[in-house]
Symmetry: C2
């Protein structure tokens, strides 16, 4: 079976292709047009590098290739770790015509993109996402950055890759938790504005969990398309792009409250989406049958559906530092219906407090 | 005497005004249109804050204003110091609708701009440059960033302020070295492509050194205009903007080699421009009379004309890490004539080695 799709993310002169398929990682032709000069620095982590670094290096044999291997984990997504990339670039005298390639999941991609955005005020970079989550999320949209002890993704840049190579074969080495975390973001696209896709997911979740490569490739393609459509309308998140944060304000509170790395980002988003659905129901926007469908789907993806037991105050405190807050007000992405998300800021604050009390 | 000029930097939707004049710092009307939300964080340093922070705060009495005071000096222009700004922003729960104001010289402006570029992936910022150098240099062009032990300005972003308020009255508290450092950048604009301005500077250098406010305001305006014209043509420095680096490759080597903070940036650029002129003469591009004019003018500005005694190898080593290097080749901005700079990469490398030997 050969699968290979090319999607275009349309952002004027910053447009770029996403290649999705099986066995693409070692295909030199997919990289060559997007490498700026002669020198390439691959950024990876100590889980992914042993599996795929040699294959990628062999595809880049026409270039002078170095690599920097970072420790694996969300807890290392910090300014200090990005500084290690800068150290290696400067020690190696990489100039402005160099290219960074991110080989790994979302953490590697976000840090590599941010390093590329800032090194000498901007050099080329290519994303090679090796997790399901990063293939459907960080491949599209140009959000890069790091965490701060006081908030997730608080430091970063909007910076687009030259291209994205999403090889579905890398998903075979992903552990079950990571696979499920990716499925959470896939479900998100259905919930936001693609009811047809949501129904497809309800029917095909067993195949996705069983890692059927064709089903995965199709789900990745549809997710990237859905996201690319939204990002093309609103690159800098001044409007519709905010919908992509469905489940993220609750989710970031879960991640930060539990300590980065305890909950996977996708797991927190999964539980966060269910919280968003439940709170939408409390505001009279969803039916209990709708919430039930969300819960069944998230559960079928192998994701936790029970948020951690924090007090309502702790949740509110963690949520208010989120970037989605405007002038102190917590804006939430909620569901008017399945497949129809919207940003809501004018709900009664006490109602949110009441809802959150059930977890404490 | 009242002086007040408004210049526009034309960069499409990122265009912004520069206000130049005497006593502008406390004028609330110059800030109001450019502040995003209700909250403002002023970033300053421990030299400038005691002089001007209270005045600026009083002009912003309609807003919720905080401040962060950094240690003064190029040696503090680091990622760690920028992280202190992030810490304060996050502790204070500043959201995306917040505004940063840089009150100080180039170091404060570069770090504040970089913090604004990266905080929550970009918030508004306003420059209030209080040194001559920052009024003519960092006010225009959107270069922000920090130094790395292995190279100057290696980490940063292109990020434009909403507006710039250059109050010439702040120059009265500047020490002589800082004033001369600013004059170096002013001379640069004449040397690059404005022979008429260069001649004006030759006639008016005594007035500038004596801090004649009218002469200073005119020189600032002309410098900002010259720079804005170049930046408008080439925001991201892919072409003509590189000419603004006249004296900078030599100058950065001087600064880095001597240790940041020993030579002021403007002093290093002054000596670096003279080196560029001398090397241009060795390549047959300038006459000895031209070089003599450059030397006399730099000397008249109160700037050192003798570069430090490093070996040729040390100079070359320090110069090759500079951002202006492409694929390892050191590109230099040289002078075809006074008022006519160009980027040169095809000179004989040995000739540069020979030229540099005279300093060791």
């Amino acid at each position: 079976m050969t699968i290979k799709t090319e999607l275009q993310v349309s952002l004027d002169e910053r447009s770029y292709p996403i290649y999705i398929g099986s066995g693409l990682l070692g295909d030199a032709a997919l990289y060559r047009p997007f490498i700026a000069g002669k020198r390439v620095m691959i950024v990876s982590n100590d889980t992914v590098a042993p599996l795929y670094l040699a294959l990628l290096e062999s595809a880049l044999s026409d270039y002078e290739v170095s690599s920097v291997i970072l420790p694996d984990g969300e807890q290392f997504k910090t300014l200090d770790t990005v500084n290690r990339i800068f150290d290696d670039l400067l020690k190696g005298r990489f100039d402005r015509q160099s290219t960074l390639i991110a080989l790994g999941g979302g953490v590697v991609g976000d840090m590599t993109g941010f390093a590329a955005a800032c090194y000498q005020r901007g050099i080329a970079f290519i994303q090679v996402p090796t997790t399901l989550l990063s293939q459907v999320d960080s491949s599209v949209g140009g959000k890069t950055g790091v965490n701060h002890p006081l908030g997730k993704n608080m430091i970063g840049a909007f910076y687009q890759p030259r291209s994205v190579v999403a090889d579905t074969r890398t998903l075979s080495t992903l552990d079950d938790r990571q696979l499920s975390a990716g499925l959470a973001e896939i479900i998100k696209y259905g919930l936001i504005n693609d009811i047809e896709f949501l129904q497809w997911l309800e029917n095909n979740m067993p195949a996705l969990v069983a890692r059927d490569e064709e089903a995965l490739a199709w789900a990745i393609e549809r997710s990237c398309k859905d996201k690319a459509d939204i990002v093309a309308q609103d690159e800098k998140e001044s409007g519709v792009r905010a919908l992509l944060n469905l489940g993220h304000t609750f989710g970031h509170a879960i991640e930060a409250g539990a300590g980065y790395g305890v909950w996977l980002h996708g797991e927190a988003v999964g539980a966060g989406m269910l919280m968003a659905a439940e709170f939408s129901q409390q505001l009279g926007m969803l039916t209990s049958a709708d919430v039930e469908r969300v819960q069944v789907l998230i559960d079928a993806a192998g994701l936790p559906i029970q948020p951690p037991a924090f007090t309502a105050e702790a949740y509110l405190d963690l949520m208010s530092v989120d970037k989605k807050a405007i002038n102190g007000r917590i804006r939430l992405v909620l569901l008017k219906a399945l497949g129809d998300a919207q940003v809501v800021a004018d709900y009664p604050y006490e109602q949110l407090q009441n809802y959150l009390q059930k977890f404490s």
